[in-house]
Subunit: 207 residues, 2 copies
């Protein structure tokens, strides 16, 4: 037999206490701190704080939209899979269109990745939606281009693609926006778990 804590609620309590004791959350207000704590929890790394950037109105914008029933548009099935449905305030729809039958042909037509092409399919639901991009830099770039071209505007964008080609650049581009409410992780780190954790924290204040 191994010795370990078997009580799920106690594991959460001690996890969040450890994170708050070890991480520097001074750059964030209490609402945003709660979100960042969950992102740290998903990554196992307290130094994630140094790379997190958010617009001043992010938490309010995302919460207001979700409470009003906004859909959640995800770039990857793993992100959608990580959204805890019972935390959603309005039984919000959670969508990933990467597997949509129109996506492969659209990617060829637009000469881009399938993940970026799937963003084009968000158009009918994008106005006022909450976007959660945790995988593909090309999806985040495509979203910014779509907005710049006068397309529909999401209420909030969680943009934390991971990786070595374009991830850092796409997050930097998002953090440079003054016209969008955003949450991002600068640099190469990010990913579906961090992104879903942020969304789950924004969806409900329950720790």
């Amino acid at each position: 037999m191994y010795t370990y804590i078997r009580d799920g609620a106690e594991i959460y309590r001690q996890s969040f206490a450890t994170i708050r004791a070890e991480s520097d959350l001074t750059a964030f207000d209490e609402d945003l701190s709660q979100v960042v704590v969950r992102m740290i929890h998903a990554s196992g790394q307290v130094d994630l704080t140094g790379d997190v950037r958010a617009s001043a109105g992010l938490v309010t914008a995302a919460r207001t939209a979700l409470e009003a029933g906004a859909p959640i548009l995800c770039d990857a099935n793993m992100v959608a899979s990580g959204v805890t449905r019972k935390r959603l305030p309005a039984d919000n729809e959670v969508l990933c269109l990467l597997g949509d039958p129109r996506t492969p042909d659209l990617a060829v037509e637009l000469d881009t990745t399938r993940t970026a092409a799937a963003v084009e399919l968000w158009r009918p639901m994008l106005e006022g939606a909450v976007v959660a991009i945790g995988n593909a830099p090309t999806a985040l770039f495509a979203l910014l281009e779509l907005v710049d071209a006068g397309g529909p505007r999401p209420a909030a964008v969680i943009g934390a693609p991971v990786g070595f080609i374009g991830a850092a650049e796409s997050c930097e581009a998002l953090a440079d926006r003054t016209d969008l409410e955003y949450l991002t992780v600068l640099g190469r780190r990010g990913g579906s778990a961090i992104t879903a954790a942020a969304l789950n924290a924004l969806a409900s204040k329950v720790e």
Copy 2:
């Protein structure tokens, strides 16, 4: 318009080239290096190499089992969601039983977490299976206890729970085993993306 690479295959090629240029893979043979490269890709961190441990026969054991049609047993839906079905050599079944209707009652009965209780439900499929645990330390501990109690034995265990309570201890416990073929990430890092990436690399040699 932003300037970025829009060709998915080229993004993969440059990503893996960057990882191989920047990471120290000398501790791993070529087969295992291919797996570790994908784990780094999923985490955005080349220094993950320092924490990766695997038994000598891991790659062969996992590949042989998957080619023979072994099921893949996952502790979290995000891990299952991250498994690329078209990479699987035998249309292998991918299962997560966290949402099974028996799981909540079993957790109460066994006085443990739901994720650990779900491991008990693996018993009929566990002999010779490939296990992918990327979220819950309690699931990994429960698996090791089940094996120690004379239960069925998986062909290979990818065990990379993430977090602050029990994650490091459970990965250490796995790395100490001489009776199982394993792959783990020591310390707090890990998670569903790294775990699914490892499984995907083991499932197919295609980069």
